[in-house]
Symmetry: C2
Subunit: 381 residues, 2 copies
């Protein structure tokens, strides 16, 4: 794709430079190109005299070489002329007709940015799997690239199920709730680097769910299906996933709170994930299982960078039942004595516990929680 559109996209190959950057020895200052040996004895008390031979023009080849006893004027970024090996800063010189007085000695290479000092031809610049940042676009432009090879974003189909679930924009009737999972998951897919297709809401009946899933696996690299919450509903979705064929369901139920009724399956080569109907659970399970798969498809290392977490002290106790890994939402507060984590409501029904959160604290399955003042690790949202 055009490099100019590449921000946030993921490289599909290593980028190796074919050029040196800078492509020639450049002056780092406004001044005079010299042979360092000529000015080795220069000082303010005993300036050295050099013959002014010419000038380097910006953006042009240095045409006049520096011969012994001579010097050439050079701007910052100008090309160092043949014969010269250093630059004296303008402030340390004085021009007197065709003669330059140099009041300070310079070492060889002083005030010179050498050819290839930033990048050498053959250097590995960026690795496959890199998510392109602003500076990356700059360096790739500097290498002369105008297009860049990127991973085609995985297409993810999102299906909501449940007799009580209303598609956005439909009028609310008694006993029904609006679908929150479709848009929340579409946003999570987009943030992870995928492209979401919202397939809407289907009623909680085997044939309808199965037909929708059969359409979903065509033209997508992943399928997410969120359950409603009616009696036996999990079975309807699980049965429909099973009917897609081998290898089928790999995991049915996970020791995670919220998110127990999760289904992890593969239909042909397509991952199909059955997520809980509660939006908080759906987003927690997305983060835990769907995002790493998407990142793997994109060639990104799925392990969280350790510095994407922050340590904080708990402002209140965080009680948890044993036996399941508990993903709890916290708000962060910066106080005089450090960062504090304020636990938010535990219920997976409470989506405001996620919109109001700055991060997640994970309570391990063998723990009954943390006490007030405990230091906890917060994964930032």
């Amino acid at each position: 794709m055009p490099l100019a559109s590449g921000l946030g996209r993921v490289l599909d190959r290593d980028v190796v430079s074919t050029v040196d950057l800078p492509p020639f020895d450049r002056s780092a200052v406004d001044g005079w190109a010299v042979r360092a040996a000529d000015v080795a004895d220069a000082s303010s008390a005993g300036p050295v005299r050099l013959a002014v031979l010419g000038e380097v023009r910006m953006g042009a080849a240095a045409e006049v070489p520096v011969t012994p006893g001579g010097t050439v004027r050079i701007p910052t970024g100008g090309m160092l002329p043949a014969g010269a090996d250093a630059v004296v800063m303008q402030e340390q010189t004085e021009v007197n007709g065709a003669t330059l007085l140099v009041r300070r000695a310079v070492r060889a290479r002083e005030n010179v940015v050498g050819r290839g000092e930033d990048v050498r031809a053959g250097d590995l610049i960026l690795r496959r799997g890199r998510r392109l940042r602003p500076a990356d676009l700059g360096i790739l432009a500097g290498l002369g690239l105008v297009e860049v090879g990127v991973i085609v974003p995985p297409r993810v189909a999102i299906l909501s199920t449940g007799d009580e679930v209303l598609a956005p924009g439909q009028p609310l009737t008694p006993g029904r709730v609006r679908d929150m999972n479709g848009l929340a998951l579409a946003g999570a897919v987009q943030a992870a680097g995928g492209v979401a297709t919202l397939l809407g809401v289907v009623v909680d009946e085997g044939p309808a769910v199965e037909a929708a899933l059969r359409r979903a696996v065509v033209g997508h690299e992943m399928v997410l299906v969120t359950g409603g919450s009616s009696v036996g509903e999990r079975d309807v979705v699980a049965d429909a996933i099973r009917a897609l064929g081998p290898p089928g369901i790999v995991v049915h139920g996970v020791a995670v709170r919220p998110g127990k009724p999760t289904v992890l399956a593969i239909a042909g080569a397509i991952p199909v994930i059955g997520l809980p109907g509660n939006p908080v659970s759906a987003l927690v399970i997305f983060d835990l299982f769907a995002r790493p798969i998407l990142e793997q498809m994109l060639g990104i290392d799925p392990s969280v960078r350790p510095w994407d977490k922050v340590g904080a002290r708990l402002a209140a106790p965080l009680a948890s039942a044993e036996g399941r890994e508990d993903h709890r939402r916290v708000r962060l507060e910066s106080r005089a004595d450090g960062i504090w984590a304020v636990p938010l409501p535990a219920g997976s029904q409470i989506l405001t516990s996620l919109t109001g959160a700055d991060g997640i604290v994970v309570v391990p399955p063998e723990s009954v929680g943390f006490a007030q003042g405990d230091l906890v690790e917060v994964r930032l949202l």
Copy 2:
């Protein structure tokens, strides 16, 4: 704009709910709607008998009320019938024809998610200036919104100057370098929530720069102009900015390394920022001065959240000259004893010091740097 396209956009107004979420009392489990008083004495040794009166259908109004001594079957998420004030889990009951045996007492409201427990009509849900996250899209959908009011992204014109600077795609000739600032800054603008217009490269001559800037201030809310690095080049750009009219230049030169020759100006109501020609300097100055202005235009609090930084120990000394605030690039390493920051090359010519970096350490102007092993604060890139 459509809510479905809103990820990452910034709300232009507070969102106050007009509805309760959930919109009715719902069962949190599969079970039986009861009057808690009826089953106050229930136990496995002494189960209570209730008359089965009917069933709540998913997604429909609860039609059969629960009268004293009676019960109605209810699915997870089903609407609590009139008369009932709690739900007994299915696992704690047994159906015997038209009679239900209840083996456990429940408190009033037990296993019920109350109307408005997540959101009440009148609640402030999200504030103006909020950058929309996946969960936000979910809750806004739940409130019934299909469109959302967002700040129109500021349009930022980007102009590169310099006789030696080549536009992308042009063949390299001696003495010239390819423009890296245009695409790097366009990426930085996009990442900050703005829309970039690349105006290309102009030669380093007053009339050309001034004419380009006059075009740039029309139809944009901010202008960024990067200098080349030829003699007096700063003056050409500064003079051209001055010629745009009052209020004109506010700051000319900042005590920051890299980035000293920065110009901060206003033309009419349009911020015009002159950035250094070196790409590292340009990106550091963008982060320091342009991004906060963009965030202010978007209504976002420009102060960095304190937890967007990470503490690390320096793996090597970081020497700095006094008198300027030094922004140094570091790579982070996670080791057994914590996170370590490895300083990268200091030169502002070295763009690979930015592409290879995980964050920035700021050395204050009054400091000569940090020693190996010192704890430093790293702003993550």
